[in-house]
């Protein structure tokens, strides 16, 4: 890893140890069912790097994301962010940490209040924080519009007037308003067209090297994961079953699940009927 912002000699930005999350669901005329969304997950991410999390639906990727963003409370385990244990922090201390971890969701259309204009959407996180004046918020919003490749005259538009790619850029800009350290991207590219995915992926890489951001990139697109990540972790049924460098995971997968996931990727280089699985 050669990027100047990546620093493996420092302690990791995020450390997760034995994270468990169980949901209990009442079945009809039956006992309460315990669903283990996360069954003891442990890993760490170093500052300035990208960890890709791949897995099927139901593997626990999204639950993990929600726990890390403090939007869900894990049943047990440890989440250490910049040295502090997130689960033991009081509300006030937690509030200081929240801006540092931001999340970007899959659906560009439903992430925004449809009645707010672009500038209002951008200003919202700051307005919430309540410490800055209106002019400061506006200028900061404009800066971020520019940095995410959106033109300033989009400021007065509604989300519905933007394209999918523009909306995701807006989501990224909004996330960056609070100067976060860690961005959790939950299938953030999945709903976009291929050519637009490439544009947003490039933007993410640029922003990472300019700002020293750390990414947790959740996806089921193996190719994009391999392209963006410094490390790939494979999840299945709430467990992390494999983790390693992209080339290693792709070329010499150790786990059956990984092999299955790789086999399911549609590829462009075949010319005849695909071998029946």
């Amino acid at each position: 890893m050669n990027t100047s912002t990546d620093d493996r000699n420092m302690p990791p930005l995020l450390e997760v140890e034995n994270l468990v999350k169980t949901y209990s669901r009442k079945q009809f005329a039956g006992p309460r069912e315990e669903v283990r969304a996360l069954a003891s997950v442990s890993f760490s991410i170093f500052r300035g790097t990208t960890l890709a999390l791949v897995g099927e639906s139901g593997s626990g990727k999204s639950t993990l994301a929600l726990c890390l963003a403090c939007l869900e409370k894990p049943t047990s385990g440890l989440i250490r962010f910049e040295g502090s244990d997130l689960l033991r922090l009081g509300e006030r201390d937690l509030r200081a940490i929240r801006p540092k971890v931001q999340m970007i969701f899959q659906d560009p259309a439903s992430s925004f209040n449809p009645r707010w204009k672009v500038l209002e959407i951008l200003a919202e996180p700051l307005a919430f924080e309540g410490t800055r004046g209106r002019d400061e918020m506006r200028s900061r919003a404009h800066v971020l519009l520019q940095q995410t490749g959106l033109s300033s005259d989009l400021g007065e538009k509604l989300p519905i007037e933007l394209s999918g790619g523009q909306r995701q850029r807006l989501a990224i800009a909004r996330a960056l308003m609070l100067d976060p350290e860690l961005l959790i991207l939950d299938e953030a590219l999945s709903a976009l067209d291929c050519s637009v995915q490439a544009q947003i992926a490039n933007l993410l890489v640029e922003l990472q090297s300019a700002r020293g951001l750390t990414y947790l990139f959740i996806t089921h697109d193996m190719a994009m994961a391999a392209h963006l990540a410094d490390e790939i972790a494979v999840m299945s049924k709430g467990r992390m079953v494999e983790k390693g460098l992209p080339d290693k995971v792709l070329k010499q997968p150790e786990n059956e699940i990984t092999r299955e996931l790789l086999a399911a990727v549609p590829r462009m280089d075949r010319s005849g009927p695909r071998a029946e699985s």
Partner: protein, 327 residues
């Protein structure tokens, strides 16, 4: 082989609020042969969904202006009476909608939803309806068919809902199935399963299919021919093997280049992906010239002013680009 469906010079425009016409499709022509799979490759704004909807005359608004021909079994669907269209929809030509989570009635059991398609097309005997519904569901769910039939859409997974949409589409054994992004919201394993289902159906029912997607990899090994749409126009049309492996149109080439390669080594430098500059324009397309011109790396003066016609690179492969004019 004769064409089972032939689209000739199909153009569709929507009349916007201000009175402007938004051109969604412009001069689209292609043929679908019996038992063939034609893949339509297009991103947002390319007009692919309009094409799907136009084939069956399912326009929602009256403010649609359509011209050209959609010939099916000797009849022009664009000029057909509503009753005739209704008889063809679901019976001879079926449409599988995007987004299975919203394409099913939320409070009706899915078995019932399949049954209604059958009932709409002349089957009235109750035992016959039950039998045929069961048959169709068994083809898609095997032993689980009984249990599935009683479920409601919100109780099913994405893949299961997609199978119900497929069941509805094939219930009356149509000649043509048009699938609009049938795997878009599914994860790769489920995607593969659904493609597998389509392959099976193609074999057993001899279906001709139009498979619309924005992901070219899905068409590999599945489609016989690939048609690329950009800004409502056909920019390339050819055999899948040729078009997917060595595309000719600059847009197709740029599109494929922007997809991260799975098999090449990934080094720490995190190369940036080659992208198509600027955004696809959402506003009405320019009245003349090639719509891809502003973003094309091969663009020439003539591209701004003239419409590139169709150039036949071979008997089966054609491109709409001035680059190939003088070959």
């Amino acid at each position: 082989m004769e064409s089972i469906l032939e689209v000739r010079d199909l153009s569709v425009s929507y009349r916007l609020r201000g009175g402007d016409l938004h051109r969604a499709l412009d001069g689209v022509s292609f043929g679908l042969e019996s038992g063939e799979v034609v893949g339509i490759l297009g991103e947002s704004g390319s007009g692919k969904t309009t094409l799907a909807v136009a084939l069956l005359g399912l326009f929602r608004r009256d403010s649609v202006v359509a011209s050209g021909n959609v010939l099916f079994q000797g009849k022009d669907l664009l000029k057909a009476e509503p009753n005739e269209l209704r008889g063809i929809r679901g019976k001879s030509i079926s449409l599988i909608f995007q987004e299975p989570s919203v394409a099913l009635h939320p409070t009706m059991r899915v078995g019932q939803q399949v049954r209604r398609v059958l009932a709409a097309h002349g089957m009235s005997d109750r035992t016959e309806l039950d039998r045929r519904t069961r048959e169709v569901l068994e083809a898609l769910f095997g032993e689980e068919a009984e249990r599935m039939a009683r479920a409601y859409p919100h109780q099913l997974s994405g893949g299961q809902r997609q199978r119900i949409l497929i069941a509805q589409a094939i219930a009356c054994e149509p000649a043509v199935v048009v699938a609009d992004e049938p795997t878009a919201s599914l994860d790769p394993t489920t995607q593969m399963e659904i493609l597998h289902v389509f392959r099976g159906l193609r074999k057993t029912l001899g279906l001709a299919m139009i498979f619309i997607t924005h992901n070219p990899a899905l068409l590999s090994g599945f489609a016989d021919r690939v048609m690329v749409l950009y800004a409502g126009k056909v920019v390339e049309l050819g055999p899948a093997t040729e078009t997917l492996v060595s595309p000719k149109h600059p847009y197709t080439q740029a599109l494929f280049r922007s997809i991260p390669p799975l098999d090449e080594p990934h080094d720490a430098g995190k190369r940036s992906l080659p992208t198509i500059p600027r955004d696809a324009n959402l506003s009405p397309w320019p009245p003349c010239g090639c719509p891809f011109e502003p973003r094309c790396r091969e663009r020439m003066e003539i591209c701004k002013s003239d419409d590139p016609g169709f150039v036949n690179l071979s008997e089966t492969h054609m491109v709409s680009c001035f680059l190939y004019e003088n070959q």
